[in-house]
């Protein structure tokens, strides 16, 4: 009998799951429900589309032929109801799809701003392709925009607007940018980079209300009463997993769909992967959400494998890593780096964000230094490197990625790195050269 797989969502988790299923079961029926007309595209690539670095057409990794070769039927519709009893998913168009195994990979959605005037025309976000197109269209006409929020998305919008020559005012609620992940000097590097790109950075600025005429944004007012005329207000205060379908279907949910390390939900035939999956690790009792492209694909692969009945495989969260470009700086964040601050600019989690980064284990010490073209910060355990932030030149980020991911016992290196005025770059490079020479 042919196994019927239904995948809700058309992002990297679904794609990776489809590939994994097909790798195991050549005959399986795979149907992918995607609410977005654009289908599968690089969501992080929208930043480069906004910045005018690539055309929209470059953002699509898969062609129709690829889907055909993979034997995936794409269905452009919205899933409106999951009926676990009948093993069926109802679509917006009324049709019902029957499944043997179901994957929920519905991603996450921007949290709307909750101030008077939020419903006005000109209040924008950057969730998906339609939002990016809307931002570009509006940028052509707008002179001034205000951006509120934090994390990567807020600055992607800021830079996209600057690429379209829009004057940008960026509001930071407290004294610095992304304080839950970045150290103070890292925040300052980014803020300085923003200013050098012509952005006006406002500190201790909280959006109080949006003012306009005929339903269109004309200005915003801060809690302190300052008024800034603008045609656009962009909001990036975080995202929430899209777990409504699962919740209504009676599946166990926390912030997202609760899954075990096999990515199986409370219903044995329903799996979840990507941003919407809240992975509960029985060993550590930690529940973690990650809104990262590569984590989504990794979860999709595991979920697909288990859906197709491969030998049970567990998702190993590994070390979350993201490389991003903020205010012109390439930045890699990996492992537990905890910036120490409470980020008032964001609610919950943001795109390109991992909750793990905010943690820092007791017993770790932090060293930080500017080394040539790179600014490096390390969270050091007694004999390990637990996390790192590398800004600027990324050469060091590659060995660091491997050292952190493999939990390499670095022995005396940790103490050498802690020594005052230690040259972090040279020490790490020397350590890595020796190690790769011995393992060659």
């Amino acid at each position: 009998m042919v196994t019927r797989h239904v995948l809700i969502g058309s992002g990297p988790a679904s794609i990776a799951a489809a590939e994994a299923i097909r790798g195991i079961d050549a005959d399986a029926e795979i149907r992918m429900i995607g609410a977005e007309r654009a289908g599968y595209y690089s969501r992080p690539g929208l930043a480069y589309l906004l910045a005018k670095e690539v055309p929209e057409s470059a953002l699509f990794p898969f062609t129709r032929r690829d889907f055909d070769l993979l034997g995936v039927e794409q269905i452009h519709d919205r899933a409106v109801l999951i009926d676990p009893g009948k093993h069926a998913v109802r679509l917006g168009g009324g049709e019902a799809l029957v499944y043997d195994r179901l994957l929920i990979a519905t991603g996450s959605a921007a949290i709307p701003v909750n101030v008077p005037g939020a419903e006005m025309d000109g209040v924008v976000k950057l969730d998906d392709m339609d939002d990016a197109r809307d931002l570009i269209r509006r940028s052509r006409a707008a002179r001034t925009a205000v951006v509120v929020g934090g994390g990567i998305t807020a600055l992607e919008i800021v830079e996209g607007l600057r690429a379209h020559r829009v004057d940008v005012h960026y509001f930071i609620r407290k004294d610095r940018y992304w304080s839950s992940v970045f150290s103070e000097s890292e925040s300052r590097i980014v803020e300085e980079g923003l200013r050098s790109r012509g952005v006006t950075v406002h500190y201790f600025s909280e959006l109080a209300r949006i003012l306009g005429r005929d339903g269109r944004v004309e200005s915003v007012e801060t809690a302190a009463g300052e008024r800034i005329p603008c045609e656009m207000l962009a909001v990036a205060i975080g995202v929430l997993p899209r777990a409504e379908l699962a919740r209504e279907a009676g599946l166990a949910c926390g912030r997202g769909v609760l899954v075990d390390t096999h990515l199986r939900s409370s219903d044995p035939d329903i799996f979840a992967a990507g941003d919407v999956a809240e992975v509960s690790d029985a060993a550590t009792e930690r529940r973690t959400i990650e809104v990262l492209w590569n984590s989504a694909a990794a979860k999709g692969r595991v979920a697909g494998h288990n859906m197709a009945g491969g030998p049970a495989r567990a998702y190993e969260a590994g070390v979350p890593l993201n490389v991003t470009r903020l205010a012109g700086f390439r930045i890699t964040v990996m492992g537990t780096v905890g910036g120490g601050g409470e980020d008032a600019d964001m609610k919950g989690i943001a795109r390109g964000d991992s909750e793990t980064w905010r943690r820092r284990d007791a017993g770790t010490t932090v060293v930080e230094a500017q080394q040539g073209e790179a600014h490096v910060r390390l969270a050091l355990g007694p004999r390990s490197i637990e996390g790192a932030v590398v800004m600027g030149d990324q050469s060091l980020s590659f060995p660091l990625q491997e050292i952190i991911a493999a939990h390499v016992d670095v022995g005396p290196l940790a103490d050498e790195l802690r020594a005052p005025s230690a040259h972090l770059g040279e020490l790490i490079e020397a350590f890595w050269r020796d190690r790769t020479a011995h393992h060659a």
Binding site: E53, N294, V323, T436
Partner: protein, 105 residues
């Protein structure tokens, strides 16, 4: 894997040009290929978009394999353009087959 060779090639990227000399470029052409660090890729397609030979570099990255395409000029466009810096030149292991691959369209 990070190697000293990759470190040196990477070093060139920090200068004004990708290759310090024609000799470096020819050496790279003969002995190296473009190797991805797939965990850093978000499939934005900047690499494929800029490839003068229309090689779908992004597809190689998704598969976690080097750009083992006979048409690759090792011009370094993709290496230079990748916004996340995940492409590097790595030495080709001895006797590795370099097969031409058709772009799937």
């Amino acid at each position: 894997m990070f190697s000293r060779f990759a470190g040196e090639c990477w070093g060139y990227l920090n200068g004004m040009t990708l290759f310090a000399s024609d000799r470096a470029r020819h050496t790279t052409l003969a002995t190296a290929w473009v190797m991805p660090e797939p965990s850093r890729c978000v499939q934005c397609g900047v690499c494929s978009f800029h490839c003068p030979m229309e090689i779908d570099v992004r597809r190689h990255v998704w598969r976690g394999e080097p750009v083992k395409d006979a048409r690759c000029l090792t011009c370094g466009e993709c290496v230079k353009r990748c916004p996340r810096g995940l492409l590097r030149f790595e030495p080709i292991p001895f006797a590795a087959p370099v097969l031409p691959q058709r772009r799937v369209r």
